[in-house]
């Protein structure tokens, strides 16, 4: 059964339609890459899923709940953790404080403090650099470290699905490699479901898993990353050949 299911989801900003009638579902434990050129509606789609921009039409289900139009905090509390584009760290907060913000959602349950502490150690184990600088301001971290921080922060909420918008944006390739390495390891360790948006399909082909190609607000292709990546259809769809 699917963890996340979208049916006919559209997103509009004023007169501009960013996402048109998108339908897909994602099973627990799956890894899905959404790729496509700039302005394809990828980020808008993620924002709709996370509840930041309510969809103008369609329906979104997550973990057996209809989350269409629900508040972002409610969706987060169901276990969907979003890492938006641009590494939105809380710059004036310390690294540890950044990590702790998300644990509040479990504060009603018993023993949450102990669990948060365990989580924290787990995140530190994955990203040792964060532990070394735990008390320094997050705004002072380098781009790669900030990317690790936002991923670590997303994990602190103990999510079932992590959605990441362009984890490689603005990072040097070797740093991106590191980030992906950790992501893959984490996925294996925690049985996470991953939804990753990337502009290029290169990363998806390296990592493997499922891939969808978005363009003009629509999903054009959906299939195995490696198989799709090499196909002619991919090239054509990405650059918009053959549409006229």
């Amino acid at each position: 059964m699917s963890l996340l299911a979208l049916s006919n989801v559209s997103v509009r900003y004023g007169r501009l339609t960013a996402v048109r009638q998108v339908t897909f579902s994602l099973a627990e434990g799956e890894i899905l890459f959404i790729t496509g050129p700039n302005g394809a509606g990828k980020s808008s789609l993620l924002r709709a899923i996370a509840g930041v921009t309510p969809p103008s039409g369609g329906r979104i289900d997550f973990a057996d709940h209809d989350i269409t139009g629900r508040a972002p905090e409610d969706i987060a509390r169901l276990g969907l953790s979003m890492v938006p584009e641009g590494r939105d760290v809380f710059g004036s907060l310390s690294i540890e404080e950044n990590l702790m913000v998300g644990t509040g959602m479990h504060s009603a349950t018993r023993g949450w403090k102990a669990r948060a502490a365990t989580e924290l150690e787990a995140v530190y184990a994955t990203f040792p650099i964060l532990k070394d600088r735990r008390h320094s301001q997050a705004g002072l971290l380098s781009g790669g470290q900030q990317q690790m921080l936002v991923i670590g922060r997303a994990l602190m909420t103990n999510p079932r699905l992590v959605a990441i918008d362009e984890p490689s944006l603005g990072l040097a390739p070797n740093i991106t490699d590191q980030v992906y390495e950790r992501l893959i390891a984490l996925r294996a360790m925690r049985k996470l479901t991953l939804l990753i948006v990337e502009q290029s399909s290169t990363r998806a082909m390296m990592v493997g898993g499922r891939m969808m190609l978005m363009r003009g607000g629509e999903i054009l292709l959906d299939g195995d990353a490696r198989a799709l990546g090499q196909s002619e259809a991919m090239q054509a769809a990405y650059f918009g050949y053959g549409e006229h």
Partner: protein, 304 residues
């Protein structure tokens, strides 16, 4: 020495008022990008909460007669309640509106509060004797400082310390700081928007009440316009401090207090009347050279 010390205290006590005001505005701005023009009227409403409604010249003291240990919590609660009520009744419905719309709505709300007070109490300023024992001078290092000035500074420091501790050490404080910096991101981490915003309004209202207490005992007057001038300076302090930065708001508040006091001291008598022109000129200069504010937190993007 004595007079230098006096100038320092003057600057600090005026700065304290501005800093407290700026905090009240920055807290709300941080979480919902609302420039709350009703803040000054909440201050005035808190002062009037000490009085029984009447349009006579002589004030009928009501809560003003309470002993200080009841009076202070009472007033803080009034401020917080009024502020939270304004959120629930009005501002909640403007969450998605653009800042200009919110600003005008807050102005309209302030207008309503002001004229409501006017109806209940008339426009004549009322006199109140609030904590009269504070109106005595004390001697420090050869300077005779009004006790109230010391208390103003002490209270401000205590409030700043308390607020800092609250923001740094509590879960709620952490969520508020995160929300102030990036509200959407905080929500995506499960921080409940309504709770944080209401918390910010409650704190802001309590700060307004603190200003009301200080202004009330300093001026001995309740006047429907009394919050307005503090509010304007506080608003400016919030901006030049770096919108959304609480520390910046406080710093800029003290800075404005210092500039105003120093101008009054150093300007020749003929130019003294133009003091405010110099102060506002300084504001423009600060903005030109640091448009993002004195302390703009890294990672905060302008969203106005």
């Amino acid at each position: 020495m004595g007079s230098l010390l006096q100038v320092l205290f003057d600057a600090l006590s005026l700065g304290s008022l501005y800093a407290l005001g700026a905090l009240g505005i920055a807290l709300i701005f941080g979480v919902m990008r609302l420039v709350n023009f009703a803040h000054g009227d909440v201050i005035a409403a808190c002062v009037f909460a000490l009085l029984w409604p009447s349009v006579d010249a002589v004030a009928i003291i009501f809560a003003g007669n309470l002993p200080w240990y009841l009076l202070i919590p009472f007033l803080l609660a009034i401020g917080a309640a009024l502020s939270v009520a304004s959120e629930i009744v009005v501002f909640r419905r403007f969450r998605r509106a653009n800042p200009a719309t919110m600003m005008i709505a807050s102005f309209a709300l302030g207008f309503v509060i002001r004229y409501f007070l006017l109806m209940l109490f008339s426009s004549r300023p009322k006199s109140i004797s609030l904590l009269p024992s504070l109106s005595q001078p004390v001697e420090i290092l050869g300077a005779r400082i009004p006790l109230l000035q010391l208390i103003t500074i002490a209270v401000t420091m205590a409030v700043l310390f308390g607020l800092t501790t609250f923001l740094r050490r509590t879960r709620f404080g952490l969520e508020m700081r995160a929300a102030a910096e990036n509200f959407t991101m905080a929500r995506m981490l499960g921080v409940r928007a309504n709770r944080v915003i209401m918390g910010a309004f409650a704190l802001s209202g309590a700060l307004a009440a603190a200003i009301a207490l200080i202004l009330g005992s300093q001026t001995g007057t309740a006047n429907i316009m009394m919050g307005a001038s503090v509010m304007l300076m506080a608003f400016i302090a919030t901006v030049i401090g770096g919108m959304g930065s609480l520390a910046g708001a406080v710093l800029a508040g003290f800075l404005l207090g210092a500039i105003a006091t120093v101008m009054q001291v150093i300007l020749p008598p003929d130019a003294r009347a133009f003091r405010d022109a110099f102060v506002y000129g300084a504001v423009i200069l600060v903005l030109i050279f640091r448009p993002q504010g004195l302390l703009s937190a890294r990672g905060t993007k302008e969203r106005v």
